[in-house]
Amino acid sequence: MEDNLEYLNINSGLYKTRINPRFRNRKKYKPADPKLIYSFIPGVIVEILVHEGQKVKLGDELMILEAMKMKNRIKCSLDGTIKKIVVKQGAKVPKGTLLIELE
């Protein structure tokens, strides 16, 4: 029973116990950064509508991500400039891939 025992802090109490994988592998919370645009669903980048250095406004369409036969318009999250386009047209992207950096 002494195998794999670690300390777990619950409300300032330290308890000797086993830690489960779901807890160990939990995603650390990161606040959303409006300068970074990620894919919200896996799919294919069928069209890129902007170029690096271009001035953009909140709500402008940046690219089209096709997923599950739907063409999703990826929109701009702030008024600013396209700093970097990370993906190429035709790229197959998993969920959570960085697509565009803004500034």
Binding site: M1, L5, L8, I10, N11, S12, G13, L14, Y15, K16, T17, R18, I19, N20, R22, F23, R26, K27, Y29, P42, G43, A67, M68, K92, V93, P94, K95
Partner: protein
């Protein structure tokens, strides 16, 4: 009998049909390490108890040249029999006939035996081994699934429903097992998913094997869809048979009593609790030190191990055990363990099984992922399930019972019939460290040695509140007992609760936080 020819004819017809999809298909089934549907039924039921119906049913499809094809039994075997004398209705999909695919007549056979089980008030066992909908039969196949799901739902809480996944069970087909009480899976044989690996790959570009997507281990450890994991079909059948001994035939009955038996001597209840209250022990040792014969039949052993659920017997009577497990995640309540416990509590309540709750938890698991996963909604299920349960509810607080966790774990306030506590119990609004930090914040901060003062205040709090006597002084705890008295007093409580009757306000149904 003047007409021997006709008898012979019947025998020949039967013999042919008993082979299902034929010898070649049977060989293929065996090559996959699987038994045939018929072997499975005969292996599960008492010897010579199986009676089959609808052996002569054929499919009724005409499109895509189906009218030129014969599908013996239409790919499913149905009937009734007994397990240790208990009546059961059973169906087993036959993968050797058109991959066990579900067409209209196939579904009608299943719904016939389901109707029978509900009408006759007997447990239903479904053995699933099917490629899914029979595409050639189109919407008729979908209608078939819908009719099955409806019956699963209507029968829920009236008769026990057991699903055994012994092959693929994909797409809509998975929802029948999901609606039943207990799902059994076998390593390397069971596969359950809504969308298979191929579609996931084409549509989403994610590659995964069938086993990693929806194999027996995945559903036992990660999703919580399965309740019993076995390494072989044989082991799986032994588990099913054992389960049947613990449950009643329907909700108007109690489970069959067994001969009472004392726990085994090797489980010494006085020696389980460690000296240091922050150190773990195996709660299953406590259950085994209490239950008849030390026999504890655990359910969902591999899922959310921080709570332990399962059946045992007390004085020969089936009893449900719900217990925090300090050995895993300090026994906290979280999203998964709440789901696991709540469903089991409702099962026990539906089928007249008294519940013994063993409490030792520091509270709920903190964290962004838990909050965002809905620990409020899921945690509420435990409160709901205990509050609405009208079967005898007996609680023993062994050690920590802090805050919301104390309330949730079958407290007096949720109408536990008897609440006992060991002298090691710490029933408080939170752990001593956390409580002292809040209550004595100013004194600690302004002390010349804050750390020393903090330690002193924690000790003070422990002395005053980390015990069972404050709760006992308000009557929230009925008796503080020695560990060695636990079994005797629980036996007595169950004995005298036998005729418990609690009227509830009339309603169509409540709204548990699903």
């Amino acid at each position: 009998m003047p007409d021997n020819k006709k008898i012979r004819e019947l025998k020949e017809k039967r013999e042919k049909l008993l082979l299902g999809g034929g010898e070649q298909a049977i060989e293929k089934q065996k090559a996959m390490g699987k038994r045939t549907a018929r072997e499975r039924i005969l292996g599960l039921l008492d010897k010579d108890s199986f009676n089959e119906y609808d052996l002569f049913v054929e499919h009724d499809a005409h499109d895509f040249d189906m009218d030129k094809k014969s599908l013996p039994t239409d790919g499913v075997i149905i009937g009734t029999g007994t397990i240790y004398g208990a009546p059961v209705a059973i169906f087993a999909q036959d993968f050797t006939v058109a991959g066990g695919s579900l067409g209209l007549m196939h579904s009608r056979k299943i719904t016939k035996i389901m109707d029978h089980a509900l009408k006759m008030r007997m447990p239903l066992i479904g053995i699933n081994d099917s490629g899914g909908a029979r595409i050639q039969e189109g919407v008729n196949s979908l209608a078939g699934y819908g009719e099955i799901f409806f019956r699963n739902t209507i029968s829920s809480g009236v008769i026990p429903q057991i699903s055994v996944i012994l092959g693929p069970c994909a797409g809509g087909a998975v929802y029948s097992p999901a609606l039943t009480d207990f799902v059994f899976v076998v390593d390397n044989i069971s596969k359950m998913f809504i969308t298979g690996p191929e579609v996931i790959k084409t549509v989403l570009g994610e590659e995964i094997s069938m086993e990693d997507l929806g194999g027996a281990r995945v559903h036992s450890e990660i999703t919580g869809n399965a309740h019993f994991f076995a390494h072989s079909e044989e082991e799986c059948f032994e588990q099913i048979k054992k389960l049947v001994t613990f449950i009643p035939w329907h909700n108007g009955k109690k489970a069959r009593p067994f001969e009472p038996a004392e726990p085994l001597k090797e489980y010494n209840i006085n020696k389980i609790m460690p000296e240091d209250p922050t150190h773990p022990y195996d709660i299953k040792d406590v259950i085994r030190a209490i239950a008849d014969n030390s026999d504890f039949f655990e359910i969902m052993e591999l899922y959310a191990k921080n709570i332990v659920i399962g059946f045992g017997r007390m004085g020969g009577k089936t009893t449900g055990f719900v217990a925090n497990q300090p050995l895993e995640m300090a026994g906290v309540l979280d999203v998964d363990s709440s789901d696991k416990a709540a469903r089991f509590i409702r099962y026990c309540d539906a089928f007249n099984i008294p519940i013994i709750t063993l409490v030792d938890l520091p509270g709920y698991l903190p964290g962004v992922d838990q909050e965002h996963a809905g620990v409020i909604r899921h945690g509420a299920k435990v409160l709901y399930a205990y509050s609405e349960a009208t079967v005898p509810k007996l609680t023993v607080i062994l050690r920590k019972a802090y805050g919301g966790g104390y309330i949730a774990m079958s407290s007096r306030h949720l109408r536990a019939d008897f609440v006992f506590a060991w002298p090691t119990a710490e029933i408080a609004v939170m752990g001593p460290e956390g409580a002292a930090n809040i209550i004595f914040r100013k004194e600690i901060m302004s002390a010349p040695d804050p750390e020393q003062m903090r330690k002193q205040k924690v000790e003070e709090y422990k002395m005053k509140f980390a015990n069972p006597y404050v709760a006992a002084s308000r009557g929230y705890v009925d008796a503080v007992i020695e560990p060695s008295e636990t079994r005797r007093i629980l036996l007595h409580s169950i004995e005298i609760s036998d005729a418990k009757d609690v009227p509830m306000p009339a309603k169509k149904h409540g709204l548990p936080p699903f």
